[in-house]
């Protein structure tokens, strides 16, 4: 007996797990470093940062669920070896199979029961708004006009969802209180009088409350309706938005992961070794950065597309092909964006090189590479970290623009960029189809805002200059 699913490890999944490993490793290292630990403690005490981190954690959770890929096992043929579906799905897909499978014919507005445009009905000459297959299906058949009890049903489901969210939250608070013996009343007075730590805890709990309420409402409403409507081919927009999160996260993090080793090593080498090594590295990054970013990316992506198109035999599934293109985009973005970090690190290394502890090591005859590893690199880690978190939101935004321009992710990959790209055409329709854009906007804004707020707190905590 084979497994009921066959796990599939896409390259981007593998790299994402490597990235998580790196982060865990680095945080273990940072735990032993007093100064870094103190800086993280400052972040942990920052209410806004912790609220942002909570939101980010939810996004990351969704992204991770969406990175556990598998191929479902097809119904076994007698005697034949187990065979698996061509389609690659993720744990998130499995979790949201309801949303994924309940497709309509075409556009429908959020929470609607009928399609958005009139169509000629089968046994009528009139054009009417046809009934949706799934949206509000439990309300019964009524092909034309308003359904009785539609609004009431929405209100009931909404309040049920909110109540569920609230109940779950209260349960969580009770558990936390039990575990920590925290004073709930102190937690509620966020920022007012309470100590910084409990204020941060309060901010987390309040953010969680908001998330639970939204989640409860979405689950409760989503059971019977399309919360964000459906798109042109009838796919649930909420499902698309959730799928776009993984793409955004991958672009925001893998790009930095791809570029960091080169940026760090070249920046330190240029700054510490100097001479012709410095000249060469500076030449390379000046040349690269002198080409306008979008154009270099466009040129590289166009070329990559030719490579992929001329070698269709490299990829077994379309998911693999889209994944390869996503990774290539990360690689290209990384190639074009390492120059800034390298330049920054070179400058800092030049300063560190003159510090007396480096000269003390030189006086002991410690080798160049040992000095770079022991004395320079650890003192640059805060800059690496700051640039990592600062770059994230910029990259998520860049993905949208690039995909819009046509040099972003594969058109079949669900991302904020592709969503906006199609939504733009929908705006021109009469009447306007606005929900795809609204959904992309809200999810993207929440993600980027949380990332920006978190990055700010990290920078303030780690940058010695900004402490004043």
């Amino acid at each position: 007996m084979g497994l009921s699913v066959q796990p599939v490890l896409l390259w981007s999944d593998a790299l994402l797990f490597v990235l998580i490993g790196v982060i865990v490793g680095l945080s273990l290292w940072a735990r032993r470093q007093d100064a870094l630990r103190a800086a993280w403690a400052r972040v942990l005490k920052d209410g806004v940062a912790m609220a942002a981190a909570t939101v980010l954690a939810v996004f990351v959770l969704i992204g991770l669920l969406d990175s556990l890929h598998f191929r479902a096992r097809l119904p076994a043929q007698a005697g034949a070896a187990a065979s698996y579906a061509v389609e690659v799905n993720s744990a998130l897909d499995a979790l949201l199979s309801g949303l994924r499978q309940r497709t309509e014919k075409t556009y429908s507005a959020p929470l609607a029961t009928h399609l958005y445009s009139k169509e000629a009905l089968e046994n009528s000459t009139q054009r009417e708004f046809p009934r949706l297959k799934h949206g509000g299906a439990h309300l019964g058949e009524n092909t034309v006009g308003k359904l009785v009890g539609h609004e009431l049903d929405i209100a009931v489901r909404l309040s049920r969802g909110l109540a569920g969210g609230l109940a779950l939250w209260l349960l969580l608070v009770a558990v936390v209180r039990q575990a920590n013996g925290l004073d709930l009343r102190a937690l509620m007075k966020v920022g007012a009088g309470g100590s910084a730590k409990s204020a941060a805890g309060g901010a987390v709990l309040i953010t969680l409350l908001a998330i639970f309420l939204l989640l409860g409402a979405a689950i409760s409403l989503g059971g019977g309706y399309h919360v964000f409507g459906t798109d042109k081919v009838g796919q649930d927009v909420l499902y698309l938005s959730l799928k776009a999160i993984r793409t955004g996260l991958l672009i925001g993090t893998l790009t930095t992961l791809v570029m960091l080793p080169a940026a760090v090593s070249l920046g330190i080498l240029a700054g510490y070794v100097g001479g012709w090594v410095d000249d060469l590295i500076q030449y390379v990054y000046t040349t690269l950065s002198s080409i306008p970013g979008v154009l270099l990316i466009a040129a590289a992506v166009l070329m990559m597309q030719v490579v992929i198109d001329t070698h269709p035999d490299w990829f077994a599934t379309s998911a693999e092909r889209a994944d390869a293109r996503l990774l290539a985009l990360c690689l290209i973005l990384g190639m074009t964006s390492w120059t800034g970090v390298a330049r920054l690190l070179r400058g800092e290394t030049l300063k560190l090189r003159e510090l007396e502890f480096v000269q003390a090591a030189q006086a002991f005859g410690v080798g160049r590479f040992a000095i770079m590893r022991r004395h320079i690199l650890p003192n640059l880690m805060h800059i690496v970290l700051i640039s990592l978190v600062m770059d994230f939101s910029g990259l998520v935004l860049a993905e949208a623009v690039l995909s819009y321009v046509g040099v972003g992710v594969d058109p079949t990959t669900i991302s904020f960029g592709t969503m906006i790209n199609t939504a733009r055409m929908e705006l021109a329709r009469e009447p306007m189809v606005w929900w795809s854009l609204a959904a992309a906007f809200s999810f993207m804004f929440a993600l980027v805002l949380a990332a920006n707020l978190f990055a700010d707190a990290v920078r303030d905590a780690f940058d010695p200059r900004s402490s004043a």
């Binding site: 470093q33 007093d34 100064a35 510090l355 007396e356 502890f357 000269q359 003390a360 090591a361 030189q362 006086a363 002991f364 005859g365 410690v366 080798g367 040992a370 022991r374 004395h375 650890p378 003192n379």
Partner: protein, 656 residues
């Protein structure tokens, strides 16, 4: 009637209270010195008076009366008339205290426009007069120059001119000469003193330097941990300090009389500004503690003649004479020198033009020859920019010398590859100036000390050995072995310098090059480090090359002295020869410029002007533009060595 009366001033930053109930008064035309070590709250007091405190700090109690009006009650607009107009202020760092993108003239005129009716050409004329008044040569040209075009001394003079522009009745000078060289310090102090007498201006002088106090002050207030502990007229303060802290400050000062002995130190460190005190703040470090000291804060007590002290001790505390040792450690002087430097040069090329051709060189070190015998201390003395630090690093081959030879125990060090040098590095080590920059903040103390041992493979494998050795080293420098697991940021400046010394000692060197190891430290901590260094020398027969600008420290510990000026040694010999019978006019002027604690003034004329740039040294004797004795011969050629006795060598035509 006093011009400024501060009463019970308290300043709070978060939980810390850097100033905690300070009261003093200054009479018109008087110079009042606020003396204290770093972190005692003296600068915060000055900023509090001017209401220029940083945003996080606020005055929580007290009053500041200036000419009868309470400054703390004034609206901000009224306070702006006092700032600059009633009270002028100058700061420690002339390099950063002037706006870099405005001309000198603009910055003076700005103040004139604010506090006088002068405008336009008249204001400019007045600005020129002010520059003239503060002794800036060629003031017309300087008006249109930017601060970066001026030397440190001239910048501080510009700062003074800006302060004078508002014709203040009180000038607050916050460590006005700390960032300056000793000869420039003498010029600026003279100027401040002269201006004060001319204009009848009162002066609030904030300093940590007893010499400066002795030179300038009419009255002295000693601050400790946010409070005044003693207030006295200068003469009385210097003849009979009344607070145990003051007494110990004097005893910690190094000088020739204490040579070979140990300096008195103040155990422990200043309590944190966040600490709350029941009794006297000095109680943990005082040798005269009584039960009453811990119970309640001591009240002010009049001693006599205007001297007041905040101490329970009746009468004066016993003077703490340093334990004078047996004088010179009578080492059998070995004939063979440990370090022999001959004609060493370090030139940095200057590149210009399209192709970056080398058009000249900064002659940082330009032919230095020295000898250092085992177990002895050679002091390399000079002002900043004379090349002494570069020379020290070049001897260690941290900067490769351009020419000349460096022999360590007979082995030539120059021209050797990095790997050939490695085994030799265990025999010579360096202690750096800045204890905050010399320890990697990301490494534990134990790893910092072990680094040299590992790199030079001076110990057998076996982790237990390493830990034991590190522990022993930490004890040797007066720290506890269990500190090996901590990170540098947990230690004070003095403790860090001890760690840096332990790191150097870890590879058992014979020669230690100490680059200004105490210049970043307070007097009381400096004494601890100097004691440690002399103990280690006696114990381990170390040779020290001691690079410093502090003549008092030289006098205390050096056996031989070499004086550098513009990349060259102008005079060298035994400490007695160079410091007591200086032959070179530069050495004489340098010694004369040091403010003396006994307040005596030297007969030797003060040096005018600044040290020229080593990129473009004057022809002939480098010193001739500033030398009172210079004649035609000095302008033509560089003087050859003149010997006085076996060891005393001077490079001056006029030395007799």
């Amino acid at each position: 009637m006093s011009i400024l009366a501060v009463r019970d001033l308290s300043i709070q930053i978060g939980a810390a209270r850097p100033v905690d109930g300070i009261s003093f008064a200054i009479a018109p035309g008087e110079c009042f010195a606020l003396l204290g070590e770093s972190g005692c709250g003296k600068s915060m007091t000055a900023l509090g008076i001017m209401r220029l405190l940083p945003a996080a700090a606020q005055v929580t109690a007290g009053s500041v009366e200036f000419e009868g009006g309470d400054l703390l009650a004034l609206p901000e607009s009224g306070m702006r008339d006092i700032r600059g107009g009633g009270i002028g202020m100058i700061f420690q760092e002339p390099a950063t205290s002037l706006n870099p993108v405005l001309t000198v003239g603009r910055q003076i005129v700005e103040s004139l426009e604010l506090h006088s009716p002068l405008r336009g050409e008249a204001a400019r004329r007045r600005a020129r007069e002010l520059l003239d008044q503060v002794g800036i040569p060629d003031p017309v040209r300087r008006l249109d120059e930017y601060p970066f075009q001026l030397s440190g001394g001239l910048r501080q003079r510009v700062m003074i001119a800006i302060a004078l522009a508002g014709a203040p009745r009180l000038l607050i000078a916050d460590e006005p000469t700390t960032a300056l060289d000793v000869t420039i310090q003498a010029q600026v102090l003279d100027l401040l003193d002269e201006l004060r007498r001319q204009q009848g201006m009162a002066l609030l002088l904030i300093t940590h330097d007893l010499g400066v106090v002795a030179r300038m002050a009419d009255r002295v207030g000693v601050m400790y941990a946010g409070q005044l502990v003693e207030e006295a007229p200068r003469r009385q303060f210097f003849s009979q300090p009344a607070h145990p802290y003051s007494v110990r400050l004097f005893a910690a000062l190094p000088d020739a009389n204490r040579r070979g002995g140990r300096l008195a130190t103040i155990p422990g460190s200043v309590p944190s500004a966040e600490a709350r005190h029941e009794g006297c703040r000095f109680v943990e470090r005082c040798s005269e503690v009584m039960p009453a000291c811990r119970a309640s804060p001591p009240p002010w007590r009049e001693v006599d003649g205007g001297q007041r002290v905040r101490c329970f001790l009746p009468g004066l505390p016993p003077s703490v004479a340093a334990i004078v040792g047996a004088g010179e450690t009578a080492l059998a002087i070995e004939p063979r020198p440990l370090l022999e430097v001959a004609d060493m040069q370090v030139h940095f090329p200057i590149r210009r033009g399209i192709l970056q051709r080398v058009v000249g060189a900064v002659r940082a070190v330009d032919g230095v020859s020295l000898q250092l015998k085992p177990g002895r201390t050679l002091a390399l003395v000079g002002e900043s920019g004379c090349g002494k630090t570069t020379a020290g690093k070049a001897m260690l081959q941290l900067i490769r010398p351009t020419a000349g030879s460096v022999l360590l125990d007979g082995v030539e060090l120059t021209m050797r590859s990095t790997s050939e040098l490695r085994p030799l590095r265990a025999r010579m080590q360096m202690v750096f100036q800045d204890p905050f920059a010399s320890l990697n903040p990301r490494l534990r103390i134990g790893d910092i000390i072990a680094e040299g041992m590992q790199a030079l493979k001076v110990l057998k494998v076996g982790a237990g050995d390493t830990a034991a050795m590190i522990g022993a080293l930490l004890e040797q420098v007066g720290l506890r072995p269990d500190m090996a697991d901590r990170y540098p940021h947990e230690f004070s400046g003095g403790q860090r310098q001890r760690i840096a010394i332990a790191r150097a000692l870890a590879v058992s060197p014979q020669l230690l090059i100490c680059d200004e190891p105490t210049s970043a430290l307070d007097v009381s901590v400096q004494a601890q480090i100097l004691n440690l260094l002399s103990d280690l020398q006696a114990e381990l027969k170390l040779a020290y090359l001691f690079i410093t600008h502090n003549i008092a420290v030289v006098d205390y510990l050096a056996h031989e002295v070499a004086v550098m000026y513009l990349g060259r040694v102008v005079e060298c010999g035994s400490a007695d020869e160079v410091l007591r019978q200086a032959r070179h006019p530069y050495t004489q002027a340098l010694l004369a410029a040091v403010p003396r604690v006994d307040g005596l003034r030297s007969e030797v004329p003060k040096l005018a002007g600044d040290m020229p740039s080593p990129a473009n040294p004057p022809a002939g004797c480098h010193f001739h533009p500033r030398c009172p004795l210079a004649d035609e011969g000095c302008r033509r050629s560089y003087p050859v060595e003149t010997r006085f006795g076996a060891t005393h060598v001077v490079r001056c035509f006029k030395a007799t």
